[in-house]
Subunit: 265 residues, 2 copies
């Protein structure tokens, strides 16, 4: 079993130092709770509602930034995934995710599907999400809106990912009484049609007038939500057997990947 | 507004005449309820749990079969979609759907993704689902397990479908208390990530030991279930404005189809 934790927190806009301390605390707490894989929200180092590229640049990091040394120091035996505002070697800004273990940053991913006004600040990533063999399972790393593209999530399953981890910041959309956020519905569908686990770590709170969904969800490979984090800051935590994701059969004659009609599409 | 109806009924195995009468009654009732588009279950003419190819062949129809003349006679101004066991001009058996209006059969589709033991009886269809401009909107026709393949549902949206209609027979799978059937979760996700409506017409009852989900659902283009048919035989009916499906934008800078990264996948 792999213990997965989503730290649904509320970073402060453009407060690198304050957010860094908050993140360190959260990683420490999740490790103490026995988490093997720890997911943090999108743009957790910087906050999301950056006014423009200038402000984003003022809080941009690189994988060599000292903030990630603190993540690594707190990580223990876990693998930590969180979003950050990245300035590339090309001088461009990216909405990125870092994958960190005790040794430091082991991978980064630049969000390929930018949401709304992100397009005015960030450059979309040029590479597909990494599928990483970590000490705690094979994980595909995506960021927020990426999850809405079945092309991308399917590809992760085909490439052998056991778990999709996604730092997200889901802006609050209206939804009917009693319904889960639509993004969670899609995470559930992604899990069940691919027999893969999904862990999406949202943020809570309000930031420069933007209310967030606080919809963090851990979904098992059958497509059922096994943990959420409540309506405010909180921890979603669940144990999932990721090994079942390698067998895509549901019955004797059904195999979710082999049954694709690759001759038709 | 387009009025969509799913007739969740319980056809009897291998009883062509009885099922034909039941179907005629259902179409008549749905037309009386003002339905523009009427969806019937998968293999509604024959029942599903056919023992083998011989039994399937004994109840197989062609688009020219007189049963469909009755559908047409009852259809009024509506468009009717229902599943049938088809014997092709090649002598092979297909798990098909017929699209019928007052003029007769206007299209057929042969299920491309066969579920489980269907593979022992039927030949998979060789052509993608049709996307048809009907008098009541642009509809894509799929059958049951087809809906589980985002490749196929995405393609329907890209091809301009406003509504996916799907005759289904969902075998009852266990699910956590309070959850919708997983297939409905996927229909909801399909609707919201493509901004398209989905109408899946399931069956009710038990057939040769197989319990059915009775999960018929009409999903609006925002991804919310707007009608179901209850746990037994029943009618799901809803009015949906299909015209909204042509605008795939959610905000000023978000467009669900234009935002795909076709350079990457």
């Amino acid at each position: 079993m792999t213990r997965i934790a989503c730290c649904q927190i509320s970073p402060a806009i453009a407060d690198l130092a304050g957010n860094s301390a908050l993140i360190e605390d959260q990683i420490t707490a999740a490790v103490a709770a026995g988490a093997d894989i720890i997911v943090l929200p999108e743009l957790v180092t910087s906050g999301y509602m950056l006014a423009d590229a200038d402000e984003a640049r003022s809080v941009a990091l690189t994988p060599d930034s000292p903030e990630f040394i603190k993540w690594a120091a707190a990580a223990g035996d876990s693998v930590v995934i969180g979003g950050f505002c990245e300035v590339g070697e090309d001088g461009r800004l990216y909405n990125s995710a870092a994958v960190v273990d005790a040794n430091g940053v082991i991978a980064t991913y630049r969000k390929t599907h930018l949401w709304d006004r992100e397009k005015l600040i960030f450059t979309p990533g040029a590479a597909l999400p990494p599928v990483l063999k970590t000490r705690h399972g094979v994980i595909a790393v995506m960021v927020c809106y990426d999850l809405e593209f079945p092309e991308l999530t399917r590809l992760a399953a085909v490439q052998g990912a056991e778990l999709i981890v996604a730092p997200v910041n889901w802006p609050l959309f209206p939804r009917p009484e009693g319904e889960r956020p639509g993004e969670v519905v899609t995470a559930m569908s992604t899990a069940r049609v691919n027999k893969i686990a999904v862990a999406a770590c949202d943020r809570s709170g309000v930031e420069r007038g933007q209310r967030w969904t606080a919809g963090s969800a851990i979904v098992d490979p059958d497509g059922w939500v096994v943990a959420t984090a409540g309506p405010d800051a909180g921890l979603a935590i669940a144990d999932i057997d990721l090994s079942v994701t390698h067998d895509k059969s549901l019955t004797e004659h059904v195999d979710l990947l082999a049954d694709r009609r690759l001759d038709l599409y």
